[in-house]
Amino acid sequence: MSPDAQSARTSNASGHLGIVTGGNGDPAIVTLTGELDMSAAPGVLASLEGLTGGSRAIVLDIDGVAFIDSAGLRCILMCEGLCRDAGVELRLTRGSPRVRRVFKVAGLLDRLPAPDPDPAGRD
C-alpha cells in the first residue's frame, strides 16, 4: 500500500463527497468530506475494501461530513459489515452536531465516540 494519501471525488446529484485515504497501516484513515448520500456508498466501500487487507483497524473520519441522510447512514452500516467480515476494527470519529443528530434519531448514537467534554471542543 502506498504511504501517500490517495483521494477521490465522487459526484452526487447536487453535491460532492471527498474521500481521502491515508495513515500508514495501523490504523488506516479514511477521511470523508462533503455530502454523504445515496451516490456516496460505492466510492466509500471501494476505498475501505482496498484497506481491509493491510490494516487491523480503520478510522472513518466523518468530522468533515456536512450532510448525511438515511442512504448515508446505510453506507456507514455497510462499512461496518464490510470491516466485521474482514476482521478489521472500524472506528468512527465524533461527527458534526448535525451528523450526530441523524445518528441519534436512528438510535445509533452509541456508534460515535462521546462528545468532547471540553467546552472549547469542536462539538
Binding site: G15, F67, D69, R74, R98
Partner: protein
C-alpha cells in the same frame, strides 16, 4: 445541395424515430417488469401473512389469527396464477417463478396443512419450538428466492434504464444535427420533428406513470374516517424512483386505531419489495392486537437474517385510544424522527419517543411515549425528506408548525410541514410523506373556527393536496 440536405434530414428523422421507438419499447419493458415484481411481492406477502397467522394462532390459540391465514391462503392460487402470467410475459423469469411457486406449494402442503391439523387436537405440540423453527426456515427460503428474483429484476431494470438514457443522449446529439440542417432548409419538416418530440414525451410520461402506480400500491388507496378525528396525508415522490416511504392508517382491536409511517433505505425494486413487506407485516401484527412496540420488535426480527444489504426501515407507530373526551396516543419510534405534538395551548414539540432503526441489529431499544390529545390538539408524523434534502438546513419541524394550534385542521398542519421542505432549492433527493391527525373531540360547534370541518364524515383526507406541488391527492 438541396437534395443532399433533404437526405440528411430524412436520415436524422429516421434516427429520431428509431430512438423514440426504442424509448417506448423500453417503457413497455418497464411496465412488464414492474407488474412482475408486484406479483412476486404479492406471493411473498401472502406467504408472510399465512406464516404470521399460523404462528399467531399456534402461539396464542386465538382463532382471530386464523382469519388472515385463511384469507392469504385463499388468495395464493390467484397470486400464483398472476405471477405465472407475468413471468410468461417476461420470459426471462419463468424458471425462477416456477421454483418459487413450487416452494410455496411445499410450504403449504408439507407444513401449514399438517400443522393446522395437529393444532386442532394438540396445540401444545404444535407450538413446540422445533416445529415453529421449521416454518421460519421454509418461509426464509421462499423469501430468499423471492429476493433473488427481485434482485435479478432490479439488475436488468438498471441495464434497461441505462439503455434508455443512452438512447436519449444519442437522440439529443442527433436532434442537434437535424435541427441545424432543418433551419437551413425547410420549415415544413419542422412539424414532423415536433410530432416526434411529442411522442417521445408521451413515452417518458408513460414510464413515469408506471413507477407512480407501483408506488401507490405501497400506500393505502384511501384513508379511513376515524371518529372525532381529522386525518390528512401527503406523499410527494421526489426521487423519481419507486420505493422508500410508506404510511397506513387502520382500525385495531378494542376500539383503537393505529397510524404508521415509515421509510425504507434505498430505492428501486428491492426497496419497494421491502416497503411492501414492512407495511403488511406491521399491519397484520397490529390488527391482531400487537402493541406498537411488539409489532416493531417482530418486524425487526423478521428482517434480521434476510440478506438485505444493510437495508433498514425506520417507523413511527401511533396507537390511538379515546377515553373520557381525550385521545390517548402511544407513540413508538424505531430510528424515525418523533412525531410533533401540536397542542391548542403551548408550543408544538416532538414527542419523547425514540428507538433503534429496524433490520440491522438483533437487539434494539425502543422507548415509547404516551401523550394525551385534548379536543383541538394535533399530532403530525413525517419522514426525513422534510428536513434532509441537502446540506442547507431549515428550521426544525416543530417551528414550522408553530402558529397553527387551534386554528388549523389536519390538512393545514400537513401543508405547514410540507412547506418546510421548500427551503431546499432542489432537485430533491428524497420522497416526503406526512400523516397529520387532529383530535376534534366533542367540541361545541361555536368554539370551532368556521373553516374547520368538524364532522369527521366530511373531513376528506388529503383533499387539500395541491396538485401544483406534486402531491398525490388520495381520497
Amino acid at each position: 445541395m438541396v437534395a443532399a440536405g433533404a437526405l440528411l434530414v430524412a436520415v436524422g428523422v429516421a434516427l429520431l424515430l428509431s430512438n423514440t421507438v426504442e424509448l417506448r419499447s423500453d417503457s413497455e419493458g418497464t411496465t412488464r417488469s414492474e407488474n412482475y415484481l408486484l406479483r412476486v411481492v404479492d406471493v411473498e406477502r401472502s406467504v408472510v401473512d399465512v406464516e404470521t397467522g399460523l404462528r399467531g394462532y399456534v402461539i396464542t390459540g386465538r382463532p382471530l389469527f386464523l382469519q388472515p391465514l385463511y384469507g392469504a391462503r385463499a388468495g395464493l392460487p390467484a397470486a400464483e396464477r398472476a405471477l405465472r402470467e407475468a413471468a410468461v410475459a417476461n420470459h426471462a423469469y419463468e424458471h425462477g417463478s416456477d421454483a418459487l411457486i413450487a416452494s410455496v406449494g411445499r410450504y403449504l402442503e408439507g407444513y401449514v396443512v399438517p400443522l393446522l391439523a395437529r393444532s386442532q387436537h394438540d396445540l401444545a405440540g404444535a407450538r413446540s419450538s422445533a416445529v415453529t423453527l421449521e416454518g421460519k426456515r421454509l418461509v426464509d427460503g421462499i423469501r430468499d428466492e423471492a429476493a433473488s428474483l427481485e434482485r435479478g429484476l432490479s439488475g436488468s431494470e438498471a441495464a434497461r434504464q441505462n439503455a434508455a438514457h443512452d438512447a436519449t443522449d444519442r437522440s439529443i446529439t442527433e436532434a442537434i444535427v437535424v435541427l441545424v440542417v432543418l433551419t437551413l432548409l425547410t420549415v415544413a419538416t419542422g412539424t414532423l420533428i415536433g410530432r416526434v418530440a411529442v411522442e417521445r414525451e408521451v413515452a417518458r410520461e408513460h414510464s413515469d406513470a408506471t413507477s407512480e402506480t407501483l408506488q401507490q400500491s405501497l400506500l393505502p388507496s384511501c384513508l379511513p374516517s376515524i371518529p372525532r378525528c381529522e386525518l390528512a396525508a401527503r406523499f410527494i415522490p421526489n426521487s423519481g424512483l419507486v420505493g422508500g416511504d410508506f404510511y397506513d392508517a387502520f382500525e385495531t382491536p378494542n376500539g383503537t386505531w393505529t397510524l404508521i409511517i415509515g421509510d425504507v433505505s434505498g430505492k428501486g425494486a428491492p426497496a419497494a419489495a421491502l416497503t411492501a413487506m414492512a407495511r403488511w407485516t406491521l399491519r397484520s401484527l397490529l390488527e391482531s392486537g400487537a402493541s406498537p412496540v411488539e409489532a416493531l420488535r417482530v418486524l425487526n426480527s423478521t428482517m434480521i437474517g434476510q440478506s438485505l444489504e444493510r437495508r433498514f426501515v425506520t417507523v413511527a407507530c401511533m396507537r390511538l385510544r379515546e377515553q373520557d373526551g381525550r385521545l390517548q396516543v402511544t407513540v413508538a419510534c424505531a430510528g424515525h424522527p418523533p412525531p410533533i405534538l401540536v397542542p391548542t395551548a403551548g408550543a408544538p414539540h416532538p414527542v419523547g419517543a425514540e428507538g433503534t432503526l429496524l433490520g440491522v441489529l438483533p437487539a434494539i431499544e425502543l422507548q415509547p411515549a404516551e401523550v394525551e390529545l385534548a379536543p383541538g390538539d394535533g399530532i403530525v408524523a413525517f419522514t426525513d425528506g422534510i428536513t434532509d434534502q441537502g446540506p442547507q438546513e431549515g428550521p426544525p419541524p416543530e417551528q414550522a408548525l408553530a402558529g397553527h394550534p387551534g386554528h388549523g385542521n389536519a390538512d393545514s398542519l400537513a401543508d405547514a410541514l410540507q412547506r418546510l421542505s421548500e427551503v431546499y432549492a432542489g432537485p430533491y433527493r428524497d420522497d416526503i410523506a406526512i400523516l397529520a391527525l387532529r383530535y376534534v373531540g366533542a367540541l361545541p360547534r361555536q368554539e370551532t373556527e368556521p373553516a374547520i370541518r368538524a364532522d369527521p364524515a366530511t373531513a376528506v383526507p388529503g383533499s387539500g393536496d395541491t396538485p401544483a406541488s406534486g402531491s398525490i391527492p388520495r381520497v
